[in-house]
Symmetry: C2
């Protein structure tokens, strides 16, 4: 697999994965780039180009074998592995993520919850104990942790991020409305909800979709 | 304002807004594209190009006036307006969004909550009554609703979307892990959490960030 693939292409892969899963669930076992194009609203040539990046070539007159393509994309995305997640910040959003069954189905399992609020430290959410953030280092040394999910206020996110990184945790899924100064060797994925809502406001205020 | 601006540029605007707000809060009143570039990890020429799209030109030897630029971006994004939001689906994620104070600060106000679960219909969350989804049409005819926030299971999202659209609601913020067949005149913004998590998995599995 090439390392030169752009992030824009990567970001489309989960979408391919979603569409192809739906197809397979509906008993569709092969599809042409043209048919996929109509479903996904991406040009057929873009689809061929995207998938060629990963050595997935459709066959002339046959198209793609959905099952093989799906397996390939799953492999590229690393979804054959399982991931241990810890939640940092057990507020509403954090609890919503804990309860999101889809993640487990894809191999993402929450194994620890951390907070700074003494009122909830020691309680359990979905059978997982809420621990003091100060015990994170010990927990991470005793348990494999792949991803820290940060659902904490913006003003403490950078310092918690450093703490997470110093424990050897490589993946960070950041929900706070701030941007982290990325440290070498870590991978950050941001979900900026306010940015998304602002983009919607823009669309509503412009002629963007009035084609 | 031009309608030809690409969505890629639009999507960067909330990020500019965020960085510029931080600068102003820290008393920084002017900034060059070069300084902004270092902070935002975008090239200076990209910044100039982005902002030129909206008629924001920095001055040679002075840079950008942060306050004016911020006002301009706020105007472009439509953040001088306020928006009435309804929540459809009062589960964990929906409640997390209801409690997110940042939205109100930006002019996004929840004015209604709808669900299909008889156990919670009639109860109140943050002082707002949870209503039966079947009363949506009446509510929308009596109240201005700009945006419907959909935090509902994937399998009912398309039909609820049609219901929302038929009530004349133009903006849809979709959190379900499915893609809507967009109807003319509506604006959809998707937050696909599983896609984001899969992208992080990819990064962890590849050499993507190992520069």
């Amino acid at each position: 697999m090439s390392n030169k693939v752009s992030l824009a292409v990567i970001r489309r892969l989960p979408r391919y994965y979603r569409f192809l899963s739906d197809l397979l669930e509906n008993g569709i076992t092969r599809i042409s780039s043209k048919e996929l194009s109509a479903k996904m609203d991406i040009t057929a040539s873009q689809i061929r180009q995207d998938l060629n990046n990963f050595g997935c070539f459709g066959q002339q007159g046959y198209g793609y074998n959905v099952e093989i393509l799906l397996r390939e994309i799953k492999d590229i995305l690393g979804l054959n592995n399982t991931y241990n997640l810890i939640l940092v910040g057990a507020g509403n959003l954090g609890q919503a993520l804990l309860n999101y069954a889809k993640f487990e189905k894809r191999g993402f399992n929450f194994t620890g919850i951390f907070d700074i609020n003494p009122k909830i430290i020691g309680s359990k959410i979905r059978g997982i104990e809420v621990r003091d953030i100060d015990t994170l280092e010990q927990f991470a040394s005793e348990n494999k942790v792949d991803i820290a999910v940060l659902t904490i206020p913006a003003n403490i996110t950078q310092s918690i991020y450093r703490q997470v990184v110093s424990c050897g945790i490589k993946g960070v899924w950041n929900f706070s409305n701030t941007e982290l100064k990325e440290e070498k060797g870590t991978m950050i994925e941001n979900v900026h909800l306010t940015d998304s809502l602002m983009t919607l406001a823009y669309k509503l205020n412009s002629d963007f979709n009035n084609k």
